[in-house]
C-alpha cells in the first residue's frame, strides 16, 4: 500500500474519531445549554434540576455595588444575578456620593426580573448659579439656547446662554407699567409681552445688543375685564388673550382693537396654547340641550391662514371693545 493511501486512511480514522467526538459533545452539551438558557440549575442536594429566575440590574450611572439580601456581590452594575430560586429578594444598590437605591424584587422561575431603569441621584447635586444679578422670573428657550431673565426691580430684561454665560441686556421695561403677572417671548424672539390683570405691554427686544426700543413699547389697557393668560400667536404679531369673560385676539401694535372670539361663562383659569398647531385649549361652562350647565374642555383652532383672523378684526371695528391701545 502506498504511503499516501496509508496517510489517507490514518487521517480518516482521526477524522472519524473527531466526528464522533463532536457528535458526543453536541448531544451531551446541547441539553445542558438549553437547560441553562431556560433558567434551570442543578441542585446538588436533590440531584435534580430546579427552574430558577434571574435579576438583571442596570443603573445610571453604572458601577454601583449590589447587595442581595444584605450580602455584597462581586460584580457591579450593569450585571445579572443568575440561578435564583424563585422568591422575594432585597436588592440594595450603592455608589459613593449617590443616594442608595433599595427595593424588594420578586423572582419567578424561568423569568428575568429587570431593574434596568434605576437612576442613582447624587447626594449633593452640582448646583451652578446662572443669573448675573437679580431677577423676578425667567424663561428658558432650549431651542435657541438662551435664558431670558426679567428683572422687575431694575426694570430690565437680560439674557444669557444656557450655561449662564454671554449676558446681554436686551430691553427696558416701560416705567408706567405696573406689577407684572406674566410674560412671554414672541416666537420670532423680537419682542415680549408683559401683562397684569388690566394691562398688556409689548416690549421690543434688542437683538443687536443696543436696546433703544424701550420708548416704543406698546401698552394695551383693559378696563373692564381681568386678564388671566396671554399667549403669542405663531405669527409673532397677534396675541391671544384669555380674560375672565372672553377669549380674544389682539394685534401687537398701537391702537389695535381686540376681537372677542369666544364669550366665556366662567373664568377659564386653565388654558393651554399649542403654538405649533395654533390651537387654544380652555375650559368653560356651557348650557346643554337639557338646560343644565356643563363644564367642558374646548379647542379653539386659530388657523394658520391668518386671513380668518384679519377678517374677524375688520368686523370687530364697529363692535364694542374692551381694550384700548396707546403708546
Amino acid at each position: 500500500m502506498p504511503n499516501w493511501l496509508k496517510s489517507d486512511r490514518a487521517f480518516q480514522k482521526v477524522r472519524s474519531l473527531l466526528f464522533y467526538l463532536s457528535l458526543f459533545l453536541f448531544f451531551c452539551g446541547l441539553p445542558l445549554i438549553l437547560l441553562f438558557a431556560l433558567g434551570y440549575k442543578f441542585n446538588r442536594s436533590s440531584l435534580g434540576f430546579v427552574k430558577t429566575g434571574l435579576i438583571y440590574i442596570k443603573t445610571q450611572p453604572e458601577g454601583a455595588n449590589v447587595y442581595l439580601n444584605g450580602q455584597p456581590l462581586c460584580e457591579k452594575t450593569p450585571m445579572s444575578i443568575q440561578e435564583l430560586i424563585p422568591g422575594v429578594y432585597r436588592i440594595t444598590l450603592t455608589l459613593t456620593k449617590y443616594y442608595p437605591w433599595r427595593s424588594e424584587v420578586d423572582v419567578e422561575a424561568g423569568k428575568v426580573s429587570r431593574i434596568d431603569k434605576v437612576i442613582l441621584f447624587p447626594l449633593r447635586p452640582d448646583l451652578e448659579r446662572l443669573n448675573r444679578s437679580g431677577f423676578s422670573s425667567f424663561r428658558a428657550d432650549t431651542e435657541e439656547g438662551k435664558i431670558y431673565y426679567l428683572d422687575e426691580e431694575n426694570r430690565i430684561v437680560y439674557r444669557s446662554d444656557l450655561e449662564g454665560k454671554n449676558f446681554e441686556d436686551i430691553a427696558s421695561l416701560p416705567d408706567k407699567f405696573g406689577r407684572i403677572d406674566g410674560w412671554g417671548i414672541s416666537p420670532d424672539k423680537d419682542k415680549m409681552f408683559i401683562f397684569n390683570s388690566r394691562q398688556i405691554g409689548v416690549v421690543f427686544l434688542d437683538n443687536q445688543d443696543d436696546y433703544m426700543y424701550s420708548d416704543s413699547s406698546i401698552s394695551l389697557d383693559c378696563r373692564r375685564e381681568e386678564i388671566i393668560r396671554v399667549f403669542w400667536h405663531s405669527d409673532s404679531y397677534h396675541l391671544i388673550v384669555l380674560t375672565d369673560k372672553h377669549v380674544a385676539v389682539i394685534e401687537a401694535r398701537a391702537l389695535a382693537r381686540a376681537v372677542n372670539l369666544v364669550q366665556l361663562n366662567k373664568e377659564a383659569r386653565e388654558a393651554f396654547y399649542d403654538d405649533k398647531r395654533q390651537v387654544l385649549y380652555f375650559s368653560d361652562t356651557q348650557r346643554g340641550s337639557d338646560g343644565s350647565l356643563y363644564n367642558n374642555l374646548y379647542k379653539l383652532e386659530l388657523s394658520p391662514e391668518l386671513y380668518l383672523l384679519e377678517r374677524l378684526m375688520k368686523k370687530a371695528n364697529e363692535e364694542s371693545h374692551n381694550f384700548k391701545a396707546s403708546f
Binding site: P2, W4, L5, S7, D8, F11, Q12, V14, R15, L18, F19, S22, L25, F26, G29, L30, I33, L34, F36, A37, L38, G39, T52, G53, L54, Y56, S80, G110, K111, V112, S113, R114
Partner: protein, 497 residues
C-alpha cells in the same frame, strides 16, 4: 416522459424549497413562538460552534498534509516504481478550455505547465478555444508558436457554437477538445487507459511537481480508473493585487476545498481536476449542457461505476486568479456572479437523484447518504449565515414584553455572543493558515498590505452574508422556478481590469 419531467422538476424544487422553508419557518416561529424559535436558534448556534471547531481541525490536518508534501520529489517516486506499474507508458492530456481569456492569462498557465518537473514529451496539451471568440485564432497561433515545441503534442481546438443539444458551457468546449484529443491519441496508438486527463481553468498555474504527484497517485491507486484526482485550488496568481474582500472570499473557498478533501465520503471534484481518460471516454466526456461540469463529471462516473468511484485528494496546489474588477462594486458583482455559478452546482442534485432512481446497482444506503450529503451541503450553504446573522436576533425583536421577561430571552444574546467569541478563536487559526499559503509579497507591494490582510478578516460576517448565503439562495431559487442559468465565465486577469 411526462412523469420524468415532473420528477425532474420535483428534484429541482427540493433544495430551494428546503432553504426557503427553513428561513421562512424560523422567521414565522420567531413571531408566533419566540421561545421555540430561541431554543432552535441556540441549538443551531451550538451546532455551529461544534461544526466550526471540527472543520477548523480538519483544515489544520489538510494544511499539515500540504506542508508535509511541499517540495516532495514525486517524479523520483514515480521512477522508483516497479516497471510493471506502467509509468513509462503514461501520458498526460492537459485541456485548457478558453472562453475569452487573453494571452496575459493563458501564457502564465502554459509557462507553469512547461516548467513542470515531468517529461515534457509525455504531455498532450490542448488549448480549447471557442470558435465564437473573436480573439481565438490569433491567440491560438501566438501560443502555438511559443509553446508547441515545448510539449510532446500540442493541439488547438475551436469549439463550434450552437451545436445541437449543447449549451454555451465550459463542459461543451472541454468535451469537444477531449474528442479531438481522442482522435490524436488513437492515431498515435496510445491506449486510453494510459492517459490521465486534466481539465484546467484557463488561469490555472500548476505546481512543478503536480504531474509527478498525479502520476504517482494514479499508478499506485487500487482502482486508478475509478477515481478523480483533485488538487487543492489556491488563488495566488494575483492575490497581492486583488481587493481585500475578494481575496478573503477566495482564501475561504480554498479552505473549504481543503476541508472537503478530508471528508472523502463527501469529496467531489471542483474546478481544475484530473481523471482517467479511459473513464472520461466511457462516460461520454463532460456534460455539454450543464454549468457545473466539474462536479457533474464526478457524478457521471459515480453512476457509471455503480457507486464505486471516488475522489483522491492531491495535497498539492494549483494556483488560479482571484476574480476582481476595476472598482469595489464591480468586484462585488463579479464575485457574486462567480459564487452564484458555483452555487449552481445545486443542479447536481436533480441529476444525481434521477441517476440514483435509474441505477439499481448502487446500495440504497449509499444513495441516501450521498443524496443527503449533497442536499445538506447546498441547503446549509444557503441558510447558515442567514440563521446566525438575520434570524438569530428576531425572537428578541418580535418576542414582546412577555418574552423579554423570560430567562431564555436574556440568555439568547449571551449564548450568541459566546458563539462569535468562538468563531473569533477559529478565525485566528484561519488567519494564521491563510498567511502560510500566501506567495511571497512581490516587489512594489507595500508592507501595509500585510496589515490589511489581517484586518480584512473583520469583514467576514458581512461577506458570508453577501457572498455566502445570497448567491446560494439566488441559485436555488432560480432552479426552483426553472429559470436556468447560462454559463457566465468569471472575469479574470492578473492585472486590475
Amino acid at each position: 416522459m411526462k412523469k420524468a419531467i415532473i420528477l425532474k422538476r420535483a428534484f429541482e424544487i427540493i433544495p430551494g424549497a428546503l432553504s426557503w422553508g427553513i428561513i421562512i419557518s424560523l422567521i414565522a416561529l420567531s413571531v408566533a413562538y419566540p421561545v421555540a424559535s430561541a431554543i432552535l436558534i441556540i441549538s443551531f448556534d451550538f451546532y455551529w460552534i461544534i461544526r466550526t471547531i471540527y472543520l477548523t481541525t480538519l483544515l489544520i490536518m489538510a494544511h499539515h498534509r500540504i506542508s508535509r508534501q511541499r517540495g516532495k520529489d514525486w517524479l523520483g517516486l514515480c521512477l522508483s516504481l516497479p516497471a510493471g506499474k506502467g509509468w513509462q507508458d503514461l501520458y498526460q492530456l492537459v485541456i485548457f478550455p478558453v472562453y475569452n481569456e487573453g494571452l496575459e492569462v493563458l501564457r502564465p498557465s502554459l509557462e507553469a505547465l512547461s516548467a513542470s518537473h515531468y517529461p515534457k514529451e509525455k504531455f498532450i496539451v490542448v488549448m480549447a478555444f471557442e470558435e465564437r471568440s473573436p480573439r481565438a485564432y490569433d491567440n491560438a497561433l501566438a501560443l502555438e508558436k511559443e509553446f508547441s515545441a515545448k510539449f510532446g503534442s500540442y493541439l488547438s481546438t475551436y469549439h463550434p457554437d450552437n451545436l445541437p443539444g449543447e449549451g454555451r458551457t465550459k463542459g461543451a468546449n472541454a468535451s469537444w477538445a477531449a474528442g479531438a484529443a481522442k482522435k490524436l491519441i488513437d492515431a498515435r496508438r496510445i491506449g486510453c487507459e494510459h492517459v490521465v486527463v486534466s481539465c484546467f481553468d484557463a488561469d490555472t498555474c500548476v505546481d512543478p511537481e503536480y504531474f509527478g504527484c498525479l502520476s504517482y497517485h494514479f499508478l499506485t491507486s487500487e482502482k486508478p480508473h475509478q477515481a478523480s484526482y483533485q488538487p487543492m485550488p489556491v488563488y495566488n496568481n494575483n492575490i497581492w493585487q486583488a481587493p481585500s474582500f475578494a481575496r478573503l472570499v477566495e482564501i475561504s473557498s480554498s479552505f473549504c476545498q481543503m476541508i472537503d478533501s478530508m471528508r472523502l465520503e463527501k469529496f467531489v471534484t471542483f474546478s481544475s481536476h484530473s481523471m482517467s481518460f479511459k473513464t472520461l471516454v466511457e462516460v461520454g466526456y463532460w456534460p455539454t449542457n450543464m454549468i457545473s461540469d466539474d462536479s457533474v463529471i464526478y457524478w457521471k462516473s459515480f453512476l457509471h461505476y455503480n457507486g464505486d468511484y471516488r475522489v483522491v485528494p492531491l495535497y498539492i496546489t494549483v494556483s488560479m486568479d482571484v476574480a476582481y474588477s476595476s472598482n469595489i462594486w464591480k468586484t462585488i458583482v463579479v464575485q457574486y456572479k462567480q459564487k452564484r455559478r458555483w452555487a449552481w452546482g445545486v443542479e447536481n442534485f436533480p441529476f444525481v437523484a434521477e441517476g440514483f432512481m435509474e441505477n439499481r446497482e448502487i446500495p440504497l444506503l449509499k444513495k441516501l447518504r450521498r443524496s443527503f450529503n449533497l442536499l445538506e451541503s447546498h441547503v446549509s450553504w444557503a441558510v447558515w449565515a442567514v440563521i446566525l446573522m438575520v434570524i438569530g436576533p428576531l425572537p428578541i425583536f418580535f418576542g414582546g414584553r412577555l418574552f423579554s421577561q423570560m430567562a431564555i430571552a436574556y440568555n439568547l444574546p449571551k449564548i450568541t455572543g459566546l458563539l462569535f467569541q468562538f468563531t473569533l478563536f477559529t478565525s485566528l487559526t484561519w488567519i494564521f493558515l491563510s498567511w502560510t499559503i500566501l506567495p511571497p509579497r512581490p516587489k512594489g507591494v507595500s508592507w501595509l498590505k500585510n496589515v490589511l490582510l489581517l484586518l480584512e478578516w473583520f469583514f467576514v460576517p458581512a461577506i458570508v452574508l453577501l457572498l455566502g448565503s445570497s448567491p446560494a439562495i439566488d441559485a436555488q431559487s432560480r432552479l426552483m422556478f426553472a429559470r436556468y442559468m447560462e454559463f457566465n465565465p468569471t472575469l479574470k486577469g492578473n492585472k486590475v481590469l
